[in-house]
Amino acid sequence: MNNTIIDVIKKYEGIKGSAIPILQEVQEIEGYISNDTIREISAVTGIPSAELYGIATFYSMFRLKPQGRHTIRTCKGTACHVSGADTIASAIRTHLKLPENENTTDDDRFTVLEVACLGCCSLAPVIMIDDTTYGKLTIGKLARILDSYT
C-alpha cells in the first residue's frame, strides 16, 4: 500500500465528510487520481469506491488521467469570452501543436484545461499557468510566456 496515501488519510481520521479533502490532497501529491488510488483510499477509509469515483467525476477539479508538468487553465468566464478567450485558446493549441481532442502535449510539458472563471475579470482575457495568472493577454505575448516553461 502507498504510504503517502495512508499519511494523508491519517490526518483526517475522525473528521466527518473528509472524502473530498483526502482526494484533493492525494491529487496534489500524485498529480491525478488513478483507479488504484481510489481502491486504496476505499480500503483504508471504508468509503465505497463507487462513492469516491462518483465524487471524483462530479467535481471538475479532479483529474483521472496523468497530467503534464505544467497546467494551463484558460479562463472561459463571461468577461474573457467577450474579450476573445476562444482566440487565445486556439492560439495556445496551435503553439503547442495540440489537437482539439487532446489535453496533454506529447512531451508531457503542458496539460491544457478550461476553467469556468478565474475571477480576474478586470484583466480579461486571462490564463493561469500553474499558480501564476497572466492577464490582458494578447497572442503576441503568448509565445514568450509559454516558452518560458520547460
Binding site: 479532479f62 468577461a79 499558480d131 495568472t133
Partner: protein, 574 residues
C-alpha cells in the same frame, strides 16, 4: 496586492521598491482598492500624512519613486479630490469595502486599529442575541448571494430553530463567471467576514462555522487561514470570546470546481463530503442544514456588511438605498468598460451612472449594446433600459436578476445569440444532472442555438426555445435550472432582430458567429506590416514583410483577430 494586482505584476514592483527605496521610507502591502484596470498601483504617504495614489506603475517608474519624484502623469487619487479618479470614488459608498486597499489584510493590528472586532465585542458584551437580530432586521440588509432574502429574518429562523448544535456557513463559492466581488473582499479584508460570521453565530447560538471557498481562489484561502489563526490568537475566535462564554471555531472547506455547489443545499452536501446535488427545500437549512442541524448560510458580502451595521446602527445603513433594497451593493465591473474593477454604490443608482460615471464609459468609445447581470441565472439588459436603478425588484422587471454582482458590459462586437449559447454551454457543463429538463432540456436549447449560429436555423426555432424555457423553469428543482433559460429569454426579448438576422438572412450582425463570417485581405490596402500574421492564432496568414498577405481559408477559424488588429482596414469581413 490582490489577485488582479498580482496578475498585473504588483509583486515585481514590490520587490523592486524593496531594493531601491531608502530606509527612511516604510514599505507596506495592501490589497485591492477596486481600480483593477490601473494595476499595479502604489500609494505614497508623505510626512504630513497626505496620500497620493498612482496607477499603471511599471519598473521604469521605480527610480523616480525612490527619489521622491513620482510619475505625475499617473496620479489617480489625491487628498484634495481633484485627481482623475477621485470622482469615481466620490460617487461610491464604501461599507463592505471600507478597508479594501486601505489596510494590510494579513495584519490583524491594521484591522484592529480601525475599530476591528469592536462590533463583535458589542454583540458579546453589550447586546443580547435578539438585539443583534433586531438591528440586522431594521437595517433592511438582504442576502447578497443573489436571491435577496432578508438577512435578519433568516437569522431569526435559525435562532428559533430547536437544536443542541447549530452551524453557520459562509458561501464563498462565487461561481458566476464574471463575478469577483467576494474574492476581492476576502483577499482585501478577511477579518470583516470573520467578524460578521462571529456576530451571526453569537446571535443564533452556533459554535461551529465553515467557509466554503472555491479552490480557484488560492490567495483568498491563504489570507483567510492566516486571519483565522490570528483571530484565534487574539481571542476574537475560539473559546470563550470576550469572556462571554461564547465560542466559535471556523474551518475552511475548499470547493472542488462545481458551480452548483453555490446553491446552499448542494453546498451543504459538498461540505459533508458528498457529490454536490441540491435537494428539495423545505426543510430549509435553518431547520435542518449541515449534518441535519439548524444552519445559517450567508454570502461573503452579506456577512461583511454586518460589523459596520452594528457599529453605526441600523438607521445609518438603511439611510442608503431604496425603499425595499437598503444599503450598498458591490459590483464587479468587467467586459468592455474602461474602468474595470470593483465598485460599491448605494442601491438605487442607475446602471447608466455605474457604467458611464464610475466605469468611464465603453472602451474605445464604441456604442454599448447590453449589460449582463446575474451571470448564467441573469440576463442581458439593453441600452434602452440603462436608466433602471439597481435594486432587486427593478432588475427582476427587466428579466435579469441582481445576482451576486457581476456586471459584464458588452459593446457592438458581441453577438447576443453567441452570448446566449455561451451561458447555456456553461449550464450544460454545470448541471448536476438530477432533473431531466435541466440536464436534457438545456442541451436541446443549446443545439438549437448552435444551429442558429451556423446559419441553419429555421423560423420555428424561436418558438421552440421559448417552449423549452418554460418547461425547464417549471420542472427544475433548484435555482440553477429554474433560472437557466434567463439569458436566452432576455436576449430573445430585447435582441430578437439579431436572432432573426441569423435565421432568415443567415447573417451575424456583430460578425462573431464563425460559420457566417469570412475574412479576406484587400491586396491594395495591405502594407505587409505582418501584424495580422503575428496575431493569427492558427497561423493561417502568410506573406513576406512589406508584401500583401493572404489568409488560407482552409485553416482560418474566422476568429476575427486579424480584423481587429489591422490598422489599414485591409482585412475585409463579409
Amino acid at each position: 496586492m490582490a489577485s488582479c494586482g498580482l496578475a498585473a505584476g504588483a509583486d515585481e514592483i514590490y520587490r523592486a521598491l524593496e531594493k531601491s527605496l531608502p530606509d527612511s521610507v516604510k514599505l507596506e502591502k495592501t490589497a485591492c482598492l477596486g481600480f483593477c484596470y490601473a494595476e499595479p498601483m502604489i500609494e505614497l504617504v508623505d510626512e504630513h500624512n497626505e496620500s497620493k495614489v498612482y496607477g499603471n506603475i511599471t519598473l521604469r517608474d521605480i527610480p523616480g519613486i525612490a527619489e521622491q519624484k513620482p510619475p505625475v502623469s499617473k496620479l489617480m487619487l489625491d487628498a484634495n479630490g481633484d485627481a482623475p479618479a477621485n470622482a469615481q470614488l466620490a460617487q461610491q459608498v464604501r461599507i463592505v469595502t471600507r478597508h479594501a486597499g486601505r489596510i494590510d489584510p494579513e495584519n490583524l493590528q491594521d484591522y484592529l486599529d480601525d475599530s476591528g472586532y469592536e462590533a463583535l465585542r458589542k454583540a458579546c458584551t453589550a447586546m443580547n442575541a435578539q438585539d443583534v437580530i433586531d438591528t440586522i432586521k431594521n437595517s433592511g440588509l438582504r442576502g447578497r448571494g443573489g436571491a435577496g432574502f432578508p438577512t435578519g429574518l433568516k437569522w431569526q429562523l435559525a435562532k428559533n430553530a430547536k437544536g443542541d448544535k447549530k452551524y453557520i456557513i459562509c458561501n464563498a463559492d462565487e461561481g458566476d463567471p464574471g463575478a469577483f466581488m467576494d474574492r476581492n473582499v476576502l483577499e482585501s479584508d478577511p477579518h470583516t467576514v470573520l467578524e460578521g460570521m462571529a456576530i451571526c453565530a453569537r446571535a443564533i447560538g452556533a459554535d461551529e462555522g465553515y467557509i466554503y471557498c472555491r479552490a480557484e481562489y488560492p490567495l483568498a484561502i491563504k489570507r483567510l487561514r492566516k486571519a483565522i489563526a490570528d483571530a484565534e490568537k487574539g481571542g476574537f475566535l475560539g473559546d470563550n470570546i470576550f469572556k462571554s462564554g461564547f465560542s466559535l471555531h471556523i474551518r475552511i472547506k475548499e470547493g472542488a470546481g462545481a458551480f452548483v455547489c453555490g446553491e446552499e443545499t448542494a453546498l451543504i452536501a459538498s461540505i459533508e463530503g458528498k457529490r454536490g446535488m441540491p435537494v428539495l427545500r423545505p426543510p430549509y437549512p435553518a431547520e435542518a442544514g449541515l449534518w441535519g442541524k439548524p444552519t445559517n448560510n450567508n454570502n461573503v458580502e452579506t456577512y461583511a456588511a454586518v460589523p459596520w451595521i452594528l457599529l453605526h446602527g441600523a438607521d445609518a445603513y438603511a439611510a442608503y438605498g431604496t425603499e425595499k433594497s437598503k444599503g450598498t451593493k458591490v459590483f464587479a465591473l468587467a467586459g468592455k468598460v474602461k474602468h474595470t474593477g470593483m465598485v460599491e454604490v448605494p442601491m438605487g443608482m442607475t446602471l447608466r451612472r455605474i457604467i458611464y460615471d464610475i466605469g468611464g464609459g465603453i472602451k474605445d468609445d464604441r456604442p454599448i449594446k447590453a449589460v449582463q447581470l446575474g451571470g448564467p441565472s441573469g440576463g442581458c439588459i439593453p441600452e434602452s433600459l440603462l436608466d433602471t436603478p439597481v435594486d432587486y425588484e427593478s432588475i427582476v422587471q427587466t428579466g435579469a436578476i441582481m445576482g451576486s454582482g457581476g456586471m459584464v458590459v458588452m459593446d457592438d462586437t458581441s453577438c447576443m445569440v453567441n452570448i446566449a449559447a455561451f451561458f447555456l454551454k456553461f449550464i450544460q457543463n454545470e448541471s448536476c444532472g438530477k432533473c431531466t429538463f435541466c440536464r436534457i432540456g438545456t442541451l436541446r436549447m443549446l443545439e438549437i442555438l448552435q444551429r442558429i449560429q451556423e446559419g441553419k436555423g429555421v423560423p420555428d426555432d424561436i418558438g421552440k426555445l421559448e417552449e423549452l424555457s418554460e418547461q425547464i423553469i417549471a420542472s427544475s428543482l433548484c435555482g440553477l435550472g429554474k433560472t437557466a433559460p434567463n439569458p436566452v429569454l432576455t436576449t430573445l426579448r430585447y435582441f430578437r432582430d439579431e436572432y432573426l438576422a441569423h435565421i432568415e438572412k443567415k447573417r451575424c450582425p456583430a460578425g462573431v458567429c464563425r460559420a457566417l463570417v469570412h475574412f479576406t485581405i484587400d491586396r491594395e490596402a495591405c502594407t505587409g506590416c505582418t501584424l495580422c500574421a503575428k496575431n493569427c492564432p492558427v497561423n493561417a496568414i502568410t506573406g513576406s514583410p512589406k508584401k500583401p498577405h493572404t489568409i488560407d481559408q482552409d485553416s482560418c477559424i474566422s476568429c476575427g483577430a486579424c480584423y481587429t488588429v489591422c490598422k489599414f482596414d485591409a482585412v475585409i469581413r463579409s
